[in-house]
């Protein structure tokens, strides 16, 4: 395609957005660039969009907390335990007192029985997976250590200049 319809006139600004994001294939990119050479309006929007893309690129999110997985697995395990107990205890509520007393005994003995009998899942710790540390996390730790070190060590600030690390 040698000539193309003006994206702005066609209401096809997503083509210019895709161009600014570097998402067009080579042929489409070259076709559009030929158009941009002669269309100030499209050229201006493409430039503005490219600048916006660059500004958005600089916005990194903070790294994930190191204990995120641990918290999640704890919640999952609590749910598993809770739903098991719910299923077991549901038939026993509500009840009049004369039924509740023997069933309270039942509940106690049930607890004892479950503790006495081996639970393969709960007693066998899961083998930990080998974990890798993300380099971004290492970099952040280095930054934090440098700050903490400069601020906490008497005399060190004066001698280390911009940082020990």
């Amino acid at each position: 395609m040698i000539n193309m319809n003006c994206p702005m006139e066609m209401g096809n600004s997503e083509l210019l957005v895709a161009y600014a994001a570097g998402q067009l294939n080579l042929e489409a990119k070259m076709t559009l660039e030929r158009h941009l050479a002669g269309c100030p309006e499209c050229r201006s929007l493409a430039a503005e969009q490219a600048a916006l893309w660059k500004a958005l690129d600089a916005w990194e999110a903070p790294p994930v907390s190191p204990d995120f997985d641990r918290r999640l697995y704890r919640r999952i395990q609590e749910e598993v335990r809770h739903s098991w107990w719910e299923r077991v205890s549901r038939p026993f509520r509500p009840m009049p007192l004369r039924q509740a007393l023997p069933l309270t005994a039942t509940a106690c003995l049930l607890l004892m029985a479950s503790l006495l009998v081996k639970h393969p899942g709960n007693l066998h710790p899961v083998e930990p997976r080998a974990e890798t540390v993300r380099v971004e996390q290492v970099e952040r730790t280095l930054d934090d250590l440098e700050l903490l070190d400069q601020f906490s060590t008497p005399g060190q600030v004066e001698s280390t200049g911009s940082g020990t690390m």
Binding site: P66, I76, W84, H119, L142
Partner: protein, 170 residues
Amino acid sequence: MRSIILSCGFAIALGVAVSAAQPAVSSDRPEAPRQARAQNPIDRWNQMSPDERERALAKLPPQRARMIRERIRRYNQLPEREKQALRERYRMFSQLPPDKQAIVRQRMLEARQLPRSRWPVIRREVDQLRAMPEAQRRARLNSEEFRSRFSPQEQQIVRDITEILPAPPK
């Protein structure tokens, strides 16, 4: 009485049945991460294989990768006692909630931007405030003397670091 005995027998039988029928939780539940993570990320990084480390660094721009290697090398070369002190400071810092960590980082960055002659003054003030009982610390932070010795920005730095960051071990 009979109902209690029957209930007990039922309970034992039920306990056995439930235990046998309960899905193998270790295979059903997601695999748990490593439990003990007392080491900081740099120490854990050092325990990765060289291949893994290089693969991770290779994804970064070369200059950034070079800087990180250099900074890790300098950390690794610290005397063990110094490294241990740093680890302990980091451990206390990392136990803060993320929002508090962010405040402390920001205040420390702001402190670095101050003239260097102010760093020991601010640090001394933080050390002295930390050593005081709560009531005395409050009084000092609200005093005219404190306000006259430190700029508003410095006051905020001192206040936040004193109140949020635990004192490093002696």
